[in-house]
């Protein structure tokens, strides 16, 4: 055993920096979710998107170099009921035939300490782009790291629900969006 110690020490030296330098690039779609919640006549309604693709690169040692982008297939919506799913495709809502996707592209990521980050980026929905700021929590894990965050989307900023649906007394303007992205290093 003793004669192996130098070798073990060498191995440890070689692998330790690699362990620190893990960069999360591979997103696990099945373990990742995007949900939202809004109020309709004062009633909380939950929904989400089943299909979206995420590209990211995140090295905890160099958060300022991190980047993320998400593309959501709006046809995969669960808006709380089949009737609402159908309605959401129409011109007054997502106008999905013209704008089938929602996208987010990060522009700047800043470490806030204790595995919390602030991610700035551009959200594009229905042809309109807005800068948003999203707090993100990073949880290292054995098989995959988890990135969780959320923000309040003002639906009228993007023309989501126009005409008669612009009445925010019926459907609130605030939509709480929450995501959970699982990723592994490669």
């Amino acid at each position: 055993m003793k004669q192996h110690l130098p070798l073990l020490a060498l191995l440890a030296l070689l692998t330790a920096p690699m362990a620190h330098a893990v960069e999360y690039r591979t997103v696990l779609p099945k373990q990742s979710t995007i949900h939202f919640e809004f109020r309709q006549m004062g009633v909380p309604v939950k929904g989400g998107f089943k299909r979206f693709s995420t590209e990211m690169a995140f090295d905890p040692a160099r958060p300022e170099a991190a980047r993320a982008s998400i593309e959501i297939d709006l046809a995969s919506i669960d808006a709380g009921s089949p009737e609402a799913d159908d309605e959401s495709a129409g011109k007054l809502w997502f106008n999905r035939s013209a704008y089938p996707k929602a996208t987010f592209v990060s522009s700047r990521i800043r470490a806030l300490g204790s595995n919390r980050y602030e991610m700035r980026g551009t959200l594009t929905l229905k042809g309109r782009s807005r800068e948003i700021v999203v707090p993100v929590t990073y949880t290292p894990g054995g098989s995959a790291a988890i990135f969780e965050g959320g923000f309040v989307l003002k639906r009228l900023d993007f023309g989501i629900g126009e005409g008669m649906w612009a009445d925010i007394a019926t459907v609130a303007n605030d939509v709480q969006v929450k995501f959970r992205i699982a990723a592994t290093g490669n």
């Binding site: 006549m41 004062g42 009633v43 909380p44 709380g80 009921s81 009737e83 609402a84 008669m164 649906w165």
Partner: protein
Amino acid sequence: MRYSTPAIVLHWLVALLIFATFPLGLYMVDLPLSPDKLKLYSYHKWIGVSVFLLVTIRLGWRLTHTPPALPDGIAAWQRRASAVTHGLLYGLMVAIPLSGWLMSSAKGFQIVWFGVLPLPDLLEKNRELGELLAGVHKALNFTLLGLVILHVGAALKHHFIERQPFLQRMGWNRKART
């Protein structure tokens, strides 16, 4: 003989609410989705929950107070039919709002009474169960409609055709003679 004042007030209040929310329910279901539809659904649910609450109070009152005796000269079978009908009316007035509440829960829409008081969801979200409960809610409502027609018809028949002092029993006039 007259019912007690609380029984009379509750009877007419519940009747008024049912006569408002029943046609509202029929009208709203086939509307295309719109903010108005969402509002009408909420009003329907708020009224339904109010009926549920008032009927609970009514049942408590009814179980602790004896209603006035029926006038003489009513056949035994009619007395039995009346007892059965009243029992079913009470049962439906509880079961119908409850089935609506269960349906709303199963469809994933919590009820927030008057937009202020959230009621607990009685079921997990389950689309098939929601559809099933919609059918149950509708069937119970049409049963209620039939029984209400029978109930009103019998009261009118006793009062106007058989000239028995009947409508006074649930009337506002304290001095009504029997």
